[in-house]
């Protein structure tokens, strides 16, 4: 079945196929279509939609539902995502699977409803308190909004972690064709740890408190090992990169600008390729290093450079200090999108052409 839908709606479709049983959310532009779709489709399938009184409530409702062993989700945008950070820390601290979709709008503060990628740090590094991370996927199309929502549920369940689908206002609003999965996924069994109100789970305890400092440290070490292991599920893709002199590094919607930029420059005979991280955490460091070694590097991003800094950090950690030092960036903020014209100009400048 192929549907021509708004990316935001594709998120809900993916969630339903993934076996998500509960949606908790508070409306906010430009993520509201996700709540609209969920409000309509979850109850029709006998699943639960709750319009929460605030994002703090949404995320804590998820804490309860996930603690009770069900797959659940919410969707929001910048200000709401900020409000959820404490709750996401609790989800991570109690090792609960849940999916949060952030359709990034421009900030800080009220900002506006147009696209930015400026929630990068909280979406990728864990924006709340404590040493936690999330599994973070960056879709770039309606198809991926569906597919990566499904993937986010799978990763959340596999790693017992909150997973973030990190999108932006532009792709939330755009329509593209989406091929829906053939079948719904089976529900995972969380009875080993969840509080399900059944005899088998009576002794289960969902908590993030370790009053004893030594125990809290042991738990932190366990989390950090888990995050290291998550690297096995890092995802990335390259485009025209094999012989490229300049690698454009970009994620999400910016990676599509990068793609057209590379195509445009190739037509002019310039060797330009694209490296696109699909998972922002775990960051596909080794693959980036392989693609970027000895090349010129330019990022395209819709923020002040949070992503470029992360690219530099990952290159440096991969031993590519020289490449890290020379990462260039073209970016826009405030809801403006980098144009192909500007990206082409920037790339030519870097190539000295």
């Amino acid at each position: 079945m192929t549907k021509f839908v708004k990316s935001n709606e594709a998120v809900v479709m993916g969630a339903l196929y993934a076996g998500c049983d509960l949606y908790f959310g508070y409306p906010i532009t430009p993520a509201s279509e996700i709540a609209h779709g969920a409000a309509k489709w979850f109850p029709m399938l006998g699943r639960t939609f709750v319009q929460a009184e605030c994002e703090t409530a949404s995320v804590n409702m998820m804490f309860g539902a996930a603690g009770a062993g069900k797959l659940c989700m919410t969707a929001t945008s910048g200000p709401g995502f900020s409000l959820m950070q404490e709750g996401i820390s609790y989800l991570a601290g109690a090792e609960l699977p849940a999916v949060i979709v952030d359709v990034n709008r421009a900030g800080p503060g009220l900002g506006n409803v147009y696209p930015e990628q400026s929630d990068y740090t909280p979406a990728v590094k864990g924006g709340g308190h404590g040493n936690y991370q999330t599994f973070t996927l960056a879709p770039a199309s309606a198809q991926e909004m569906c597919d990566f929502t499904i993937k986010a549920f799978q990763m959340a369940a596999k790693w017992r972690t909150p997973a973030v689908v990190f999108a932006d206002g532009l792709q939330g609003q755009m329509m593209e064709a989406v091929e829906l999965p053939d079948a719904e996924l089976p529900r995972p069994d969380f009875s080993e740890w969840a509080a399900q109100g059944e005899p088998a789970t009576r002794r289960n305890l969902v908590k993030s408190i370790f009053l004893d400092a030594a125990a809290q440290e042991v738990f932190n070490e366990h989390l950090q090992r888990k995050y290291e292991d998550m690297a096995a599920d890092a995802m990335a893709e390259t485009y025209l990169a094999a012989d490229a002199e300049l690698i454009i590094v970009a994620f999400g919607i910016a990676s599509r600008v990068a793609r057209t930029t590379a195509e445009t420059l190739r037509r002019k005979g310039l060797k330009v390729g694209v490296f696109r991280p699909i998972t922002l955490n775990p960051f596909p460091r080794e693959r980036l290093a392989a693609a970027a070694k000895g090349r010129k590097i330019m990022t395209i991003e819709l923020d002040a450079g949070q992503f470029a800094d992360d690219v530099r950090l990952n290159l440096a950690k991969a031993g590519l200090g020289a490449e890290a030092a020379n990462v260039m960036m073209i970016h826009r903020m405030g809801g403006q999108v980098v144009t192909v014209d500007d990206a082409v100009k920037a790339a030519k400048m870097i190539l000295g052409k």
């Binding site: 021509f4 804490f63 603690g67 593209e176 109100g197 305890l205 192909v340």
Partner: protein, 482 residues
């Protein structure tokens, strides 16, 4: 030493890190008494297997050391939000939130209040000891006038901090709750009444009747800075004067507030009638809202074409774009539609972009359209300079050409708005523009596909399909004859 079995509690408390049966509560603390009563009720009613306790932050945080049932330890103030999630996820379970007065009355008040208002199916046990206990005896919303706490060192002064918050009385204004009561554990008689009330709370949850709130006045000798007997006296005398005991509401037993009584409808008793049911995702999404089109196929011989549609909101600009996009899908093209959105969509100008390509689409933004369709002057002036060489501009004839298109761009002035009015269907100006796109071969798409897409766009108003098909043909004929 022989120990007496305590019903509903673990016989030792290893989760506390000690192999003993000593709780962390101070001597004379109300929590300790309530913990015992809750455990007893849960066990006596045979509900330990299906009960899920949602624990608070504060002195009640460690109930999971003691109560032999499943626990979820929530964030400060959020036990009612978490309990909402639990009870929605596990409607067959018995969900009990346990919260203190800082937790429920201050930071989490709205979460508790809204859960009550929605009629969530859980029971909330609310311990009111008039202050923050574990955090160090600070003022809570429930602190009495004149009461000295660590943040009201001179006594609570209503001129500075307002008056004590009466949680039961506030919640009693709501429609949905089925049970609201206030009890105390300050002496034996009150403890027995408290146990009966806790039992009632469990009964209501066992039978899934709806939201229940039980406020329990509890002494806190440590932070009152009193011995247990004096603390109990303070609880009984001072606190009860401010917070009178009683059952405010027990709908099943006919106790309802006057204002709510006759019209009371516990949401738990209501049947959901509004939602149509489907069996599966396949059934839900099996029917298309638009055209039934196959997935796109790569065909590098098909060049990319970028469209911009712009005009006033209400002129059908967005649906015209969708129509072109749907026609492209019928030709197995990669297709993308993107609207202007935000404040603009509530009046003023509206625009959308469409990209059609034989290969996967990169940048979704249309900086240099091959085809620009404009229905009003501001959008014409804004976008006409961007059109690609060799491109086409179709503009409504009512728009004055104050600005010439770039060289090599063909301009068509089409009286779409006038034609639609002449045909007696002023809303169909966008169909006139579709006719123009067909007549001037502007889309690179098959005429039949454009027509199919137009018809599909009226799927929800089938009576308009033939009318618009007719309008499309008449307009096209008129344009070609001109």
């Amino acid at each position: 030493m022989k120990t007496i079995e305590q019903k509903g509690m673990y016989q030792k408390f290893p989760r506390s890190g000690k192999d003993t049966r000593v709780t962390h509560y101070c001597a004379g603390c109300g929590h300790g008494i309530v913990n015992k009563l809750v455990a007893e009720c849960c066990a006596e009613m045979g509900l330990q297997d299906q009960t899920i306790f949602v624990d608070p932050v504060g002195c009640g945080v460690f109930t999971y050391y003691y109560w032999d049932a499943a626990h979820i330890s929530a964030a400060h103030g959020r036990a009612s939000a978490a309990a909402t999630g639990v009870s929605r996820a596990r409607p067959d379970a018995v969900t009990i939130a346990y919260q203190g007065d800082g937790d429920l009355g201050a930071i989490g008040f709205n979460n508790a209040f809204q859960a009550a208002s929605r009629g969530e199916k859980f029971g909330c046990i609310f311990i009111n000891n008039s202050l923050y206990g574990m955090t160090g005896g600070q003022m809570a919303p429930t602190t009495l006038e004149g009461e000295k706490t660590t943040t009201t060192p001179f006594g609570r002064d209503p001129a500075l901090t307002g008056h004590p918050l009466h949680v039961c009385e506030v919640f009693n204004q709501l429609q949905a709750p089925v049970y609201i009561a206030r009890v105390s554990v300050a002496d034996t008689k009150r403890i027995l009444q408290c146990k009966a009330a806790i039992k009632r709370l469990f009964e209501i949850q066992r039978d899934h009747k709806g939201y229940a709130l039980l406020e329990i006045l509890a002494p806190c000798p440590t932070n009152f800075r009193m011995d247990p007997l004096k603390a109990a006296d303070f609880c009984k005398n001072e606190m009860e004067t401010e917070f009178p005991l009683g059952t405010f509401r027990d709908v099943e037993k006919g106790v309802t507030p006057e204002a709510i009584g006759a019209q009371h409808q516990a949401s738990a008793a209501l049947e959901v009638k509004s939602v149509p049911h489907v069996a599966s995702c396949a059934e839900l999404f099996g029917v298309s809202d638009g055209v039934d089109a196959p997935p796109a196929e790569d065909d590098p011989s098909v060049p990319e074409r970028r469209f911009k549609f712009a005009g006033y909101g209400g002129q059908g600009i967005l649906s015209l774009g969708i129509c072109v996009a749907e026609a492209a899908r019928l030709e197995k093209r990669h297709t993308l539609w993107f609207p202007s959105y935000g404040p603009e969509q509530r009046g003023g100008s509206a625009s959308c972009s469409v990209v059609v390509s034989g290969t996967p689409i990169g940048s979704p933004t249309v900086e240099h359209p091959d085809v620009l369709v404009c229905m009003n002057q501001p959008s014409y002036e804004r976008f006409v300079g961007d059109v690609k060489k060799g491109g086409i501009v179709i503009v409504d004839a009512s728009v004055p050409i104050t600005k010439q298109p770039p060289e090599g761009v063909k301009l068509y002035q089409v009286p779409a708005i006038q034609m639609a009015e002449d045909f007696g269907v002023p809303k169909a100006a966008n169909t006139m523009m579709l006719a123009a796109l067909r007549a001037f071969k502007a889309t690179g798409l098959d005429d039949a596909h454009l027509e199919t897409a137009l018809c599909a766009s009226f799927k929800k108003k089938p009576q308009l399909v033939e009318k618009n098909r007719d309008l499309l043909h008449r307009a096209e004929t008129a344009l070609l004859n001109n």
